[in-house]
């Protein structure tokens, strides 16, 4: 098609119109708020209630600032106590985001057969890293966890907002 014919056709003009009127919408869609690192500690119950050794699931009420809304979301973590030290693992599978379950001494994901050992390390399945450890601290006999979510499907631990 020669240039003059192209200019006479209505199709390129439709494209110009769409670009001229549509870019604010596109900009709105592509605007993503940067991940605000949530620095708050969430209560995970009494230290004394945790059995010695072995992982225990705990539900946390995680308060988060989400765009225009303050919300509380229930999230599950696994806690393991060894004496006065407590470790925490996020229950969110680092592949697709299902919650992993305890199976014998280890963890298994019910969605795509991911398996993890008793320390959360990757054994087999589609996940590209082990379960995500979370920071824990003990204050006045209570366990506190800093909950966060990490991007799934990749081998790095990249925290995401919320």
């Amino acid at each position: 098609m020669r240039r003059r014919e192209l200019l006479r056709s209505w199709k390129p003009w439709l494209g110009v119109l769409a670009a001229g009127a549509g870019w604010p919408t596109l900009a709105r869609w592509l605007h993503l708020e940067p991940a605000a690192a949530d620095e708050t500690w969430v209560d995970a119950g009494k230290l004394g209630d945790l059995p010695e050794d072995g992982w225990e699931p705990r539900r946390l009420a995680v308060r988060r600032r989400d765009h225009w809304r303050e919300s509380v979301r229930s999230e599950t973590v696994y806690l393991r106590r060894r004496g006065e030290a407590v470790e925490a693992l996020s229950a969110v599978c680092p592949h697709g985001g299902c919650l992993v379950r305890q199976q014998a001494d280890a963890f298994a994901c019910p969605c795509h057969q991911g398996r993890f050992d008793s320390d959360g390390g990757r054994v087999e399945g589609p996940a590209r890293r082990g379960l995500d450890p979370l920071p824990v601290r003990i204050g006045r006999g209570r366990v506190q966890v800093r909950h966060r979510l990490f991007r799934g499907g990749i081998s790095d631990r990249e925290p995401v907002a919320g």
């Binding site: 989400d66 765009h67 299902c98 019910p110 399945g125 589609p126 499907g153 925290p159 919320g162």
Partner: protein
């Protein structure tokens, strides 16, 4: 079945499903808020208005299944009949892909367990697509995780962007099929098939309402997410290729897309080759879907919202109420007997002379007298309401 009849039936089924989707959509929109905090309650409210049946939603949901099934059959029947013409094949394939996008976005909207977990896994698969996956998932979610910004985006895609795209493609498709369509509309059989399709959708909506599962709970360890029936084959490929997430996430969808685009450009196949290809596709789909269902045969059935809430109320009653009120509601639990507490007898007609649902809810929430503790801090309003309904079940029927 004869190929021409199959293609006509699938075409009529797709068109009728699309019309039903377009017409029931605004009805659903009128009772919906795209907000993470309110969506489920809005859906539940409409469901209660409709006497728990939710037939408008059922019609929409079954029409979506019908459109996917008939759309796939239509493409298959078209390809089986010979090398398709580009002018009709590309818009038809595009329309089918837009339809899948509409399902993807529509499934999250009710924000029940099925919606939440299905979406989470699907986005996880999107994220595992090399290079663009993470960015694409972020744009869909409006951030790194599903939150306040997500439902408005899905809603905009589901009710504006994708429907317009579908309308454009449908217009191209119908323009390319003008002659065939005119012939079809003047004959009696296609109209009869369309009427049958509409009747089938109504019947399905009335006798098998679309499920609404419990409120989304991101911390539920018991829930086992599974995809819709028409995606089980891809799910099973994911299971069979464990360790290679990109096969399920990128390779298979990519090959499917390539096949759809390239089919009208490939050298024409003989009738025998076409029949073999169609048979292989149908057999593969059936085998993978069957295998997925077979491997999941031990999964417990997923309860609906009302069922799960009633089961929860039974459990709460057994844990917190039966010790005083007794497991049969007679007020003769072990605690009330050994401590001489005055636990109400829910089976006595006298109790029901003064009790009504509001007073039951208030008594459970705030406690009553010295012996009945308040449960308002321990239980949610939803649980207290269900518990009041549980207690109602002890009420003696008139004449007993």
């Amino acid at each position: 079945m004869r190929p021409r009849l199959a293609r006509e039936a699938a075409g009529a089924g797709s068109l009728v499903s699309l019309v039903v989707l377009v017409l029931t959509g605004p009805g659903l929109m009128a009772g919906y808020v795209p907000s993470e905090a309110e969506a489920f309650d809005a859906v539940l409210y409409v469901r209660r208005l409709e006497g728990g049946a939710g037939w408008l939603r059922s019609l929409h949901s079954h029409a979506a299944s019908g459109a996917v099934a008939c759309g796939a059959l239509f493409l298959l029947a078209t390809a089986a009949a010979g090398r398709p013409r580009r002018g009709m094949w590309w818009p038809a394939s595009g329309l089918f892909l837009v339809l899948i996008g509409l399902c993807f976005t529509g499934y999250l909207l009710p924000m029940d367990q099925f919606a939440w977990w299905g979406n989470r896994v699907r986005l996880g698969i999107v994220e595992s697509v090399p290079l663009v996956g993470g960015w694409l998932a972020d744009v869909l979610r409006g951030g790194g995780s599903v939150g306040a910004a997500t439902l408005p985006r899905y809603y905009a895609l589901h009710t504006a962007v994708l429907p317009w795209l579908a309308a454009l493609l449908l217009w191209r498709l119908l323009a390319a099929e003008r002659e065939g369509l005119a012939a079809a509309l003047s004959a009696r059989r296609p109209l009869l098939l369309a009427g049958l399709a509409l009747a089938a959708l109504w019947t399905a909506a009335l006798i098998a309402p679309a499920a609404l599962e419990p409120r989304a709970d991101p911390s539920d360890l018991e829930y086992t997410p599974r995809p819709e029936w028409y995606f089980l084959w891809l799910f099973q490929i994911g299971r069979l290729t464990e360790g290679q997430a990109w096969v399920q996430g990128a390779l298979v969808p990519g090959l499917g897309l390539l096949a759809l685009v390239a089919l009208p450009l490939l050298p024409p196949l003989s009738a025998r080759q076409r029949a073999a290809a169609v048979a292989a596709l149908v057999a593969g789909w059936t085998a993978l879907t069957g295998l997925a269902l077979w491997e999941d045969r031990d999964l417990p059935p997923r309860p609906g919202y009302e069922e799960a809430l009633a089961a929860r109320a039974d459990a709460i009653y057994a844990d917190d109420c039966a010790s005083c009120h007794g497991s049969t509601g007679r007020g003769d639990g072990s605690r009330s007997r050994s401590f001489g507490l005055d636990a109400r007898d829910f089976t006595s007609p006298g109790f029901w002379q003064t009790a009504d649902p509001d007073r039951l809810v208030a008594a459970i929430r705030d406690g009553l007298g010295e012996d009945m503790p308040a449960f308002g801090r321990k239980l949610s309003d939803e649980e207290i309401g269900a518990l009041a309904e549980r207690v109602e079940r002890f009420r003696p029927r008139a004449g007993e």
